[in-house]
């Protein structure tokens, strides 16, 4: 198998077999993280620039560790300490960094579509680490990897995605990725937080209640609710959100006995999901984080090194 494209920006650019190729590769890389010496020389001599315009803990750490374990030289541009604060535009920043001959940019940006702008400017590989409310393709891959570790097949599984779908790049990438695997997707949240035209996608349904979304679900993906959503009246209050949209133990009984619960983090414990569920064996939230490194190693490997080297 191979992957012909230069970048990884949207999960929609990947076919199901592309995704399987990434996941198979990730499975191999996962083993490296379990070894005593967690480093291979695969990307020696490659320079990767992590360009993060938004705060990030998980994704940034995950990409950095992935780069280090593959022996790439990585560089973190901390935006708050960069020329951006002096007014430099994104394209000028990238053009300047481009002159330093990097092999890849990993881009996290608050504007949707920013990675496309980066990709147009640079010859280096561009990997989207989350753009605005648009997409987060590596999160989708690690979510699918985590699901496939627990379920034989995604085809016909009922996947409930609950919470702030509208502002969630994770939800968008997950929806497009999971659809290619044949999942039946049920979305639920306050209707203020559901994208208006989402039901044009086949096999995506907006549920009328928590109960409908969770009934016989195989996979439950809970999303983070941000306090800031109150200021534009997407929700009246966090208290009310907690009362009506939190995943509780009682609601879990509606799902299948072997249902698993995912969350992209960071979690507001006991706001969108009860601590009890997070601590239970139904939660695969920490598995997602573990798989995140393997998936990002696979992405870097496939995009940067697979043509000339083997693992």
């Amino acid at each position: 198998m191979s992957y012909g494209k230069k970048d990884l920006i949207s999960i929609r650019d990947l076919t199901k077999s592309d995704m399987l190729y990434f996941l198979e590769t990730a499975k191999e890389f996962k083993k490296i993280s379990l070894k005593d010496i967690k480093k291979v020389p695969t990307l020696r001599g490659k320079t990767v620039i992590n360009l993060f315009y938004e705060p990030s803990t998980r994704t940034k750490a995950s990409f950095e560790i992935a780069q280090k374990r593959l022996s790439a030289d990585s560089l973190n541009i901390v935006i708050s300490q960069s020329s951006v604060t002096k007014g430099e535009t994104l394209s000028d920043t990238v053009l300047n960094l481009e002159s330093m001959k990097p092999d890849a940019f990993v881009v996290r940006h608050y504007d949707s579509g920013a990675p496309y702008l980066v990709s147009r400017i640079t010859n280096a590989v561009t990997i989207n680490a989350g753009d605005g409310i648009n997409e987060h393709p590596t999160q989708c891959l690690l979510d699918i990897m985590t699901i496939l570790e627990n379920k034989k097949d995604i085809n016909s599984l009922k996947v409930a995605i609950i919470g702030d779908i509208y502002h969630s790049r994770v939800a968008r990438s997950d929806i497009y990725g999971l659809l290619k695997f044949g999942a039946n997707i049920y979305l639920y949240g306050p209707y203020t937080l559901l994208p208006k035209f989402i039901e044009v996608e086949n096999n995506v349904k907006v549920a009328k209640s928590m109960e409908e979304a969770l009934k016989d679900a195989d996979v439950i993906i809970m999303l983070r609710i941000q306090k800031e959503r109150m200021s534009l009246n997407f929700i009246p209050s966090i208290e009310e959100y907690r009362s009506f949209f939190k995943l509780t133990k009682d609601l879990m009984f509606l799902a299948r006995k072997d249902a698993i619960v995912l969350h992209p983090g960071p979690v507001n414990r006991d706001t969108e999901i009860s601590g009890e569920i997070m601590n239970s064996n139904r939660s695969v939230i920490l598995k997602q984080v573990e798989n995140g490194i393997a998936v990002r190693m696979a992405c870097l490997y496939i995009l940067l090194g697979s043509r000339s080297k083997t693992i």
Partner: protein
């Protein structure tokens, strides 16, 4: 076991669309075997009402009243408002949230509901606020309001000016199947206006309210509801243009319902001559042309509901200039009589009245088992003598406030019994 037999009345049931001379039997507050058989009715413990030559209608529901408790008990209390409603033939009222404090939370909502229950008179349903403190800035906890008993949300008295907030309110309320009632008004266009902008406002030399201030806002709210596929109820429409906008929206398939008030088909702006503050209402009284359109809208089903917008204000508050007097008139005790004028002039049928004043409000507010005379429905009944002549005297008004432009008028038609869950209030 409490048993009530209503004999020989003309029973008008809008659910089955039937108008037949028959008996009704109510046991433990619930209507039984209304098909006409008298199974199970025996013994001296059955209370009997002879309804010969009378009309037996499903209990009237006024979905738009202002009871002033908490905060303005000198204008009206929950108790006095309910007594006024009984006198007018209403078995249910829905009270708007613009009390002080505003009913925008569980505590106030529960206070009002418990107070009404303790009074033990008629049914009261609360309407919660769309925005916190009716401030038009922050959404109130609509799900919490619903869970604690509110049947709809509205910022009535004020419009939701911010289109984004209205959009969010429609979507958020839709999540919980909570009806949104719009007080549609472009308040900046109303500005200092106190009556309809027209010849009379010109002659009185007062600031007018352009009719478009209502129509623009109705149009916006209907378009928002259409775009977001949400449900909306437009309160107190008063102009020809508003009737036309609602009619077209219904034709286009938008989930809109509309209400008008008896004064909008009974009085024109001329009622404000002599600077009569008891005719100062918002939206304002309009013209003969508007009255005709409102009547057409009632006859063809464009307007779904007649509600009183009962808005009590004390005599002191109204005993001032037009500019200073507050907007609003009382209406619970004249609503039926004014509507019966439409019946007598053959604009609407008695079946229409049963729809406009009972079934449609029940449907709009999802009140189950109300609005019809059906087996298993709650025993809420209003018995009406459509020909009874009476004179509206200030001394007889049950409401604490007396701000009505109809005092001193002769009426034909009156409720004789208001029956709430089988409990009889003889008038």
């Amino acid at each position: 076991m409490r048993k009530l037999l209503i004999k020989n009345g003309v029973v008008i049931d809008p659910v089955s669309k039937t108008e037949v001379n028959r008996d009704i039997y109510i046991e433990d507050g619930v209507i039984k075997n209304t098909a006409g058989t008298k199974r199970g009715i025996s013994g001296k413990d059955t209370e009997v009402i002879d309804a010969s030559n009378l009309l037996v209608l499903p209990g009237f529901i006024d979905m738009h009243v202002h009871l002033r408790e908490p905060g303005f008990e000198y204008k009206e209390t929950i108790q006095s408002g309910m007594e006024s409603a009984i006198a007018g033939g209403f078995t249910s009222v829905c009270c708007m949230p613009n009390t002080n404090p505003v009913n925008d939370n569980k505590e106030i909502n529960t206070f009002i509901i418990n107070k009404a229950k303790a009074a033990g008179l008629i049914n009261l349903w609360t309407i919660g606020a769309i925005s916190k403190n009716n401030g038009g800035v922050r959404l109130s906890n609509i799900a919490e309001l619903k869970e604690s008993g509110a049947v709809a949300v509205s910022d009535d008295g004020k419009p939701v000016e911010d289109s984004s907030l209205m959009a969010k309110a429609l979507l958020y309320a839709k999540t919980f199947d909570m009806p949104v009632i719009s007080h549609s008004e472009d308040i900046k266009l109303r500005s200092k206006g106190i009556m309809n902008e027209g010849v009379i406002s010109l002659r009185l030399g007062v600031h007018g309210i352009p009719r478009v201030a209502e129509e623009i806002a109705i149009f916006r709210d209907i378009r928002l509801a259409g775009y977001y596929n949400a449900k909306i109820h437009i309160a107190h429409i008063s102009t020809k243009g508003s009737v036309n906008i609602v009619r077209q929206a219904k034709k286009a398939g938008i989930n809109v319902s509309a209400e008008t008030c008896p004064h909008y088909f009974s009085l024109t702006e001329e009622a404000l001559l002599q600077y009569n503050t008891n005719a100062k209402i918002n939206p304002p009284l309009r013209t003969k042309d508007d009255i005709n359109s409102i009547k057409e809208g009632l006859a063809d089903g464009t307007i779904d509901v007649i509600a009183s917008d009962h808005a009590p204000h004390s005599e002191d508050e109204k005993n001032t200039t037009l500019d200073e007097a507050p907007f609003g008139i009382i209406g619970l005790e004249t609503s039926l009589a004014l509507t019966l004028r439409l019946f007598h002039e053959k604009t609407v049928s008695m079946m229409d009245i049963a729809m406009l004043m009972s079934l449609n409000p029940a449907k709009i507010l999802n009140l189950k088992g109300r609005g019809g005379i059906q087996n298993g429905f709650t025993g809420d009944i209003t018995i009406v003598d459509s020909d009874k002549k009476w004179f509206y005297r200030k001394e007889n008004i049950k409401s604490l406030s007396k701000n009505s432009p109809f005092i001193g008028e002769n009426f034909r038609g009156k409720a004789l019994y208001t029956i709430v869950g089988g409990k009889v209030f003889k008038l």
